[in-house]
Symmetry: C2
Subunit: 203 residues, 2 copies
């Protein structure tokens, strides 16, 4: 019954996480009633997202330029690298505003059951950052593993610790100040700060 | 901090009803991770909505053609018109699948406090449908006012009844009362009052 362009948009919107058919219909009718400029801006923003974002050549964070903002900042400690699973996690830690090092974004966590192995993550790029020091010394002083405390997060941290250990890089794990089973992305700044402070050696 | 195309999309998505900053960010990251084809389809669907939908020349329902599907259906009783506030209301009544007449979509309700007067609604188009009968008789047999039972819905229905009466068109109002399957115990006082007022003979 629904006019075709309408049902098509409802269908596309309903593919988004947490958006059911009814919500999708509400959003579609809102877009229909809104000024034409809004529909155009929204559509352009969606297209731009994919077209203009790429991964930072150093830390794999999303960026428009070759290097992300953090990697470009001179005051950042480039020899201290925090490994996070997603860009969202990086943004959450930046919002806490207590960390002065740089990052490495894995774009996922090891999850053999879902078919996510080491090659699906940005692990090679991380190892490359460790090996480029002068006179054979590791280029990084410390790698902080800030994956979430969950089966996948812990497994990924352990896997990375075993790779980084032989390279002579100090490897630490953020403390479980983040509630077990919780999301890095949703943790408050104080909790994140504590978790970073309480990081400990992984062997 | 957020890469620019990302924060721009979050901003645009957050303008949608019921979508906060956090939900908008979740949706944006989902679009980012989804295949490029999805982003393209979603953007196209948004643009198509405005570009391809217009109002039916008879009933003002949204349609791609000059006339909507209901107005094109031969088995529909064109002399029986149900007035609804929105396309969504029309779709809800069509889903109930019991109504065999046609519709008229007002695209709103009278609401002087919000600056919505008669000229903002499709009232002239409704009156035009009443006056085109043969030999001076009204072209419509009955107009059912199916605006919601609220201050605005009732006011709009009353306003239309006063316009339609002098034209000799039978004007009716949908019943309101306790919803089917609803609890008497949980119904509000106004609904119960209306349900009692509008009671009818059982034989």
């Amino acid at each position: 019954m629904v006019a075709d362009p309408l049902s098509r948009l409802v269908q596309e919107l309903a593919k988004l996480p947490g958006i059911g058919e009814r919500t999708a219909a509400r959003l579609a009718f809102h877009i229909l009633r809104a000024p034409e400029s809004y529909a155009r801006q929204l559509a352009e923003a969606i297209l731009d997202l994919k077209a203009r974002l790429r991964e930072c050549e150093i830390c794999c964070m999303l960026t428009e330029a070759e290097r992300c903002r953090v990697c470009c900042e001179a005051r950042r400690d480039a020899a201290l690298v925090m490994v996070v699973a997603t860009p969202q996690d990086l943004l959450a830690i930046e919002r806490a505003a207590s960390y002065q090092g740089t990052y490495h974004v894995l774009h996922g966590l090891l999850s053999p059951l879902d078919g996510v192995g080491p090659d699906a993550l940005r692990i090679k790029a991380l190892l490359a950052r460790c090996g480029s020091g002068a006179a054979g010394a590791p280029a990084l002083r410390e790698v902080i593993l800030a994956t979430r405390p969950s089966v996948e997060g812990d497994a990924t941290a352990l896997y990375l610790a075993r790779l980084l250990g032989p390279l002579g890089v100090r490897t630490t794990r953020i403390a479980s100040g983040v509630p077990i089973g919780g999301e890095i992305e949703l943790a408050d700044g104080v909790t994140l700060h504590r978790a970073i402070e309480d990081r400990r050696e992984l062997r």
